[in-house]
């Protein structure tokens, strides 16, 4: 198991959220959308300019910017 920021996940790689370090507005928005510790995420794609990133979370697709993904730590299997 490796702990890395969400930004570093490759496309189609599966990871589990371990921490959301953002607070305030960004933190609230991220959590409202279901990104909490224990949630599994898969990167499904990136925008043409490589930012934002599209994630598969709980069966729906969520997008966020790379610098927002930096606030989320995930664990991936090696």
């Amino acid at each position: 198991m490796r702990r890395v920021p969400l930004r570093r996940i490759r496309e189609n790689e599966r990871a589990v959220i371990v921490a959301v370090r953002a607070e305030g507005e960004l933190g609230r928005r991220i959590r409202d959308m279901g990104l909490v510790p224990g949630t599994a995420v898969t990167v499904t794609g990136r925008a043409p300019l490589r930012d934002p990133v599209a994630l598969r979370v709980m069966g729906y697709t969520l997008t966020l910017r790379n610098n927002e993904a930096d606030w989320i730590d995930v664990e991936v299997e090696d």
Partner: protein
């Protein structure tokens, strides 16, 4: 019997579709007081019980994060509907139930519409609705809003729950050993003091303090400053403890525990999956292509371009019909009314003014239909996704794209709802930059101006020029946004975090309602504001009238022309005038005399317009406006455009048709402009640029001022935009002239 029920749910949960299925065309659209969030109401009859259904704005949560959330929350608290029907996307149960929990904690009676149950089934998700109902303690009804399946059962359950008026105790969820004791203690103090008791349940208020909810804290500080301070202290202590022991915050713990609660609930056999959960769904497969690095942007450009072609192509014929109708109406009115002020008012003021605007209704209708189609299929969200990186570079937000598109980023919007659409942006700086630049877009009111000018001067490349105008609008808006964000509104960026809804085939009913609402707003504007302004402008262009001796001079000259002609020719012209409606063929000689008379009449009308208030304003500005190639008539039209951009067309129409007497001669304004000396493609280009960038219409300025919170920004938009537009127009006109165009 009567009861009010609210329809709530996440965006993209099919809530609007269900609302349309339930209420059909019996809808009322308004605004929530004080904010610009749309309020939709409709009615449903069930066994003699009349259910008033209020469609709340789509939200993911009940924080005070966006105006939509505040509106939804305030409605539930202030109006206490008999029931909240929570429309839940069955394929997305986990995230959707997050909102359900918040309703339950607020203590409002809830019924769940397990919507799009068919899509969930297709994806291999089986939901035990009865078990979910038992575990949550609320009715759960599977529905398919698109086909209306389950809506009777849902309303049956809603009617039963609404009439039972059972007192629903707020739901208690455990938030863990750190938060629970603090929450209990805070709730106890709130309960004892009766703090905000008329609005919220005690435990909910305490939760909102722990979540740092700005709205509730502001209310609390006003209601009881001492208790407010105590609660804040309790929150601060807990935060400190959580930071020290677990490196987390109360609001994070609360969200985690809510999702934990939902997961444990779903794991009790509510949801069963069959097949591979990580397989790609159709929507993902489409996205692989549609948002692909190279194909995506090309496809996006093609879609926008296609929208133009199709809307312009299809609407051409009906636009012709409407124009033909008003031409006929003007002719008929002209033939039956006595020569004089009333005739002038009706034909030149009212029919030309309103007709010029209504003539474009079919175009607006098809354009709105196209936009609704992109919106409802889910493609617009992909546009925001693909463009965010670009927008961020200009100090904006991916969501700015909505404001720009509504304003006319895909031609045919309106800056007024566009400026209002900036409300989804929470950051004051990105929002301000968006609402100040969105009015540069190619709005539905500028369209008639551009359509007129392109038809007159660029007929063979109409679609290309219109596309180019939109491109220029985007570039201009983005550059100005960047300029503003690096000067008057500097500052850092806001969260993007957005759902990409699955692609869906929109329902025809939804599209129709959507299109009709927007088109109707346009028509209403034409019927009220534009009519009033047409009359006002007509008066400005008519009064003061020419001095009597000048009028007499013209009449004498006309008489002289007639007298100089042979008697039978004069008689022929008189006879033709009487029988104008039948269109009598004149002899060559008579036509020549008639030409002379017409020129005289036009001269007289020209002199009269110059003499009027409007003419004086236009003349006064001409010295400066000549630099951009605008004569005083154009100036009058542009001044009129401050009131509403489409007035530029109706004013040009009025200005030019006043110079004409023959009611049979109702050729389109475009032809007239093309024939008018002094008008050439370069003049048209300069005017197009000026119209695109100059001061937003008065209504938009009022909105900007209200949204920005101060009149200073409204005034800024008027002055800054006009100076910018004039500079651009002069630059193009002077360069073009120097190059010999």
């Amino acid at each position: 019997m009567e009861a009010t029920i609210a329809l709530a749910g996440n965006p993209n949960s099919g809530k609007s579709t269900l609302f349309n299925a339930l209420t059909g065309a019996r809808q009322r659209v308004g605004n929530y007081p004080g904010v610009t969030v749309e309020k939709k109401e409709g009615r449903y009859e069930h066994n003699g019980l009349r259910l008033n259904i209020v469609d709340l704005p789509g939200t993911y949560s009940l924080t005070a994060y966006s105006p939509e959330e505040v509106v939804a929350r305030d409605f539930l608290v202030a109006h206490r509907p008999a029931l909240v029907v929570h429309v839940v996307d069955a394929a997305n149960l986990e995230r959707n139930l997050y909102l359900t929990l918040q309703f339950l904690e607020l203590g409002v009676p809830v019924a769940i519409a397990l919507n799009m149950i068919d899509v969930a089934a297709e994806r291999g998700i089986r939901i035990d609705a009865e078990k979910l109902a038992r575990l949550l303690g609320v009715p759960v009804v599977p529905t398919v809003a698109r086909s209306g399946k389950g809506k009777e059962a849902l309303m049956e359950a809603a009617a039963a729950a609404a009439t039972a008026r059972a007192l629903i105790p707020p739901r208690f969820i455990s938030y863990g050993s750190d938060v629970d004791p603090v929450l209990a203690e805070m709730s106890r103090r709130i309960e004892t003091a009766g703090f905000l008791a008329r609005r919220f349940p005690a435990r909910w208020t305490a939760l909102k303090y722990l979540e740092g909810d700005e709205q509730v804290r502001a209310l609390g500080a006003k209601a009881d400053p001492r208790l407010h301070a105590e609660l804040e202290t309790a929150v601060a202590r807990l935060t400190e403890h959580l930071q020290a022991t677990a490196d987390t915050y109360p609001e994070a713990v609360i969200a985690d525990q809510r999702y934990g609660f939902i997961r444990s609930l779903l794991m009790q056999g509510v949801v069963a999956h069959t097949g591979d959960r990580s397989r790609l769904f159709l929507s993902d497969k489409i996205d692989k292509v549609v948002t692909q690095r190279f194909v995506g942007p090309l496809l996006m450009a093609a879609v926008v371009w296609g929208l133009y072609h199709v809307t312009f192509g299809i609407s051409k014929t009906p636009v012709g019909w409407v124009e033909g109708f008003f031409g006929w109406l003007k002719g008929a009115a002209g033939a039956h009314l006595e020569e004089g002020l009333l005739k002038s008012l009706i034909t030149s003021g009212i029919i030309d003014g309103v007709g010029g605007v209504l003539g474009f209704t079919p175009l607006i209708l098809f354009m709105f239909f196209g936009i609704a189609l992109l919106e409802d299929t889910g493609y617009l969200a992909r546009v925001a996704f693909m463009l965010d990186r670009v927008f961020r570079a200009f100090g904006l937000h991916g969501s700015s794209v909505m404001a720009f598109i509504v304003s006319g980023g895909i031609a045919g919007g309106c800056a007024v709802p566009g400026v209002m659409a900036t409300r989804v942006l929470k950051s004051p700086r990105e929002r301000l930059a968006t609402l100040l630049t969105a009015p540069f877009m190619n709005c539905g009111a500028k369209l008639p101006v551009f359509a007129l000018l392109t038809a007159a001067f660029f007929e063979s490349h109409q679609a290309l020029v219109m596309f180019g105008i939109t491109a220029v609008a985007w570039v201009g808006a983005l550059l100005v946004a960047k300029l503003l964000r690096t000067t008057v509104i500097r500052g850092a960026a806001t969260p993007f975090v957005m759902e990409l809804p699955p692609y869906r085939l929109p329902t025809l009913k939804g599209l129709m309602i959507h299109t009709w609402e927007r088109t109707w707003q346009y028509i209403k504007k034409a019927g009220t504001v534009i009519l009033a302004i047409s009359i006002l402008l007509w008066a400005m262009m008519t009064f003061p009238q020419l001095p009597e001796e000048v009028q007499a001079q013209f009449d004498e000259r006309c008489a002289a022309v007639l007298a100089a002609a042979p008697a039978e020719i004069a008689a022929e012209i008189e006879a033709a005038k009487e029988a104008a409606a039948e269109g009598v063929e004149l002899s060559a000689q008579a036509r020549a005399v008639k030409e002379q008379l017409l020129t005289l009449e036009a001269e007289k009308a020209g002199a009269a317009l110059e003499h009027s208030i409007a003419g004086r304003i236009g003349r006064a500005l001409e010295g400066v406006s000549r630099l951009a190639g605008f004569d005083w008539r154009t100036n009058i039209a542009l001044v009129g455009g401050f009131a509403a951009k489409e007035v530029v067309v109706s004013t040009l129409g009025t200005a030019y048709s006043l110079g004409e007497v023959d009611p049979e001669e109702s050729g389109s304004l475009a032809e007239k402009l093309a024939e008018t000396p002094g008008w050439r493609p370069l003049t048209a280009l300069s005017l197009i640029l000026f119209t695109l960038f100059y001061a937003p219409c008065f209504t938009a300025v009022v909105c900007i001022a209200r949204e920005a919170g101060t009149w200073r920004w409204g005034a800024f938009a008027m002055v800054f935009n006009t100076l910018l537009a004039f500079t651009l127009a002069v630059l193009v006109y002077q360069t073009g002239s120097a190059l010999g165009f």
